[in-house]
Subunit: 404 residues, 2 copies
């Protein structure tokens, strides 16, 4: 019996409510110019006050030294072993656009791109960031393609991005990206080293050729690039494991998609900003007993290497903590799916500061909610991301005793 199965055996439904705030890319690192981390440099009195009475620590999303993508980062927070369950980018994008998937589906992330037909080289991997409406027109142009019994469904995501579903028996996702990842290079076909995926590769490449034929007269978007091939995964439902009625509040498609994959109810967000997310939380407070609220700005600033902007993002979240506490949740979790230090301009392996507040029994936490104070002065010490849900459940009084 693994940890998740044990938790499933012990979980019971109760009246208590859990809120999990995921500040994407929350963890930082000491910036060489600023000589501090983003959390150390920011003024966030409400987060500090919460940390001071919470069980704090740092969590490894996947494991020591592993830099996680958003998929593994979130799966760990939701209590799913991110090494056992891997979700491809294509799949995440696809479930993010409210599409029902079948277990047969092979999904991929698509980019409309500009190809210099005379030279055969890519000049713009994003086709000049065409409008979403333009994208919809192109998707219509590419609809209805069927190859070797496989139905191919294409959906607009946003701007130049599309999601592709190959639907039919016997498909495999052991395929390389059909995307050179750089401009100035020719588009490339997908390939595979696994015999069981060779038919899938052939179908994908035939589809790409058909796309080029249908798009040849387009000025900007005359080529489609595909990456992140991924089959549907079979995740045990969150509601079955934890006996929770869970809701997800997220603006970005990927996080909405991930929530849908584990069976959360993805709420319509009132307005596409943090205030709108907290409004949505408040309005739906009585309908659910678990809320996942996703905040993207910390990660975006980190990816841009914009230290001040990440500091501001942290401070923006801080201003909403009072609203959260006014709802009087039984348990509040605040963590991130991974670290995104501005010093790295990208995701990193650094463990993520984490806070678990329990209404029933307070803890002695650190003075401030920062990476180092959580690591050195928190009651949790260093934990694995998969321990967060069991701890949240225990603090909410939702786990029975194990054994006599």
């Amino acid at each position: 019996m693994d940890r998740q199965e044990l938790i499933e055996q012990l979980a019971v439904p109760t009246e208590s409510k859990i809120v999990m705030i995921v500040m994407d890319g929350l963890g930082g690192a000491i910036h060489p110019q600023k000589n501090s981390t983003e959390l150390e440099a920011s003024v966030h009195p409400n987060l500090d006050a919460l940390a001071k009475i919470s069980a704090c620590g740092v969590q490894d999303p996947v494991g020591s030294g592993i830099t996680p993508g958003s998929g593994p980062g979130h799966l760990g927070l939701f209590g799913y072993d991110p090494i056992r369950y891997l979700i491809g980018r294509g799949l995440l994008d696809t479930v993010g656009i409210d599409v029902d998937l079948t277990p047969l589906d092979l999904t991929a992330r698509g980019n409309f791109a500009t190809l210099d037909l005379s030279k055969g080289l890519l000049t713009d991997r994003r086709a000049g960031r065409i409008s979403t409406d333009e994208n919809k027109r192109l998707c219509k142009k590419l609809s209805g393609i069927k190859i070797d019994g496989i139905e191919i469904i294409i959906h607009t995501v946003k701007e130049h991005r599309a999601s592709i579903i190959f639907r039919g028996d016997g498909l495999s996702d052991s395929l390389t990206d059909a995307d050179p990842q750089k401009e100035g290079l020719p588009p490339i076909p997908t390939h595979t080293v696994k015999p069981e995926a060779s038919r899938s590769a052939k179908i994908v490449n035939q589809f790409l050729e058909e796309c080029r034929v249908r798009l040849k007269d387009e000025a900007k978007a005359n080529c489609l690039l595909l990456r992140g091939f991924s089959k549907m995964v079979d995740l045990p439902p969150f509601s079955r494991i934890y006996k929770l009625n869970p809701a997800a509040i997220a603006i970005y498609p990927m996080y909405r998609g991930l929530s849908r994959l584990v069976g959360m109810n993805v709420l319509k967000v009132k307005e596409d900003n943090l205030a709108g997310e907290f409004e949505t939380l408040k309005e739906n407070w009585n309908q659910f007993d678990f809320f996942f609220l996703h905040f993207k700005a910390t990660d975006s600033a980190g990816e841009d290497g914009n230290f001040d902007k990440k500091v501001q993002a942290i401070e923006e979240m801080d201003r909403h903590i009072e609203k959260l506490r006014a709802l009087d949740p039984d348990v509040i979790v605040i963590s991130g799916d991974h670290s995104t230090p501005c010093a790295f301009s990208g995701h990193s392996w650094h463990p993520v500061p984490t806070l678990i507040y329990s209404k029933k029994a307070h803890y002695r936490g650190p003075e401030r909610f920062t990476e180092y104070q959580c690591a050195k002065d928190g009651f949790l010490g260093r934990i694995s991301s998969c321990e967060i849900m069991p701890l949240a459940m225990a603090n909410a009084g939702k786990l029975l005793k194990y054994g006599a």
Copy 2:
């Protein structure tokens, strides 16, 4: 190879001696009225002095968020994976009364109860806490029952409690409790959803009917309730794994039983109190090289939600630490099988403060032996219960080097 198999390969017998003091339910939590934990509120200079030179930390008995029963809590301390090995309540009770069990045995915990025969409802699940002598008389009345080739053996535990052994081939413990757990309800038969247990269910229910016939003229104890059906488990012996000659000093049957299950020599305790346990330790000092000493009062006070009493229990243990050190053990472990915070009046999932003293090499420990000082200022950090025995063995010089 799992951790325990590795330890077994590396363990060697030596002259050194280990004492493991288990303060049942040791860990506490911040009490909302007292604004401190039980360990923080108590005066225990001897434990503090020991902590200051010991490797300290907190340990998760089973895992993050899991509230353990006494069985899993102790198995972890003894180095057995408590998820792999689960010991039912019936089995623990049974081995606690010095009964030799066979691998065939199905055990259960019994309660003599009072049934209102006219209404068919339970009026007292404990039959007015009849005396132990009265219990013995009733067990004699129920002796000699045999159903479908299965011999049924009933032993007095204490007051209204008895232990039942179903002995014979093909029994299963996939049975629900034959106990409604509440007064004002009728007694219920056991049932099962597993076909391989249906014969066992039939035998148990026939036995219960026969009991009612034999007990029908009793004023108080006219009904028997059964719960915690459990088969014998196959635990690798403690002495084989660690090459130790282990002794157990415990007053309560359950802990004596658990020690016997792993093959410890269960000593006769001189007097049923902590002083008597330490006397027993001293008298047997030369005969064994591992001593498990169990102290119940911390848990009992915690279960009662009696903060001051738990503080007193901690202080009582503290007064015996000098006697312990006078014996000059090579390694002293002090921990608990789980936490029992008075704020919860019951077991909890909170990790348990732990101290490993080594005569050979001192450590820098915290100033005080408390939950937070162990968690934040200890050399061990946060560990799993199963790491304690390997650490004790290492500190006692009983583990060979692994690999060349």
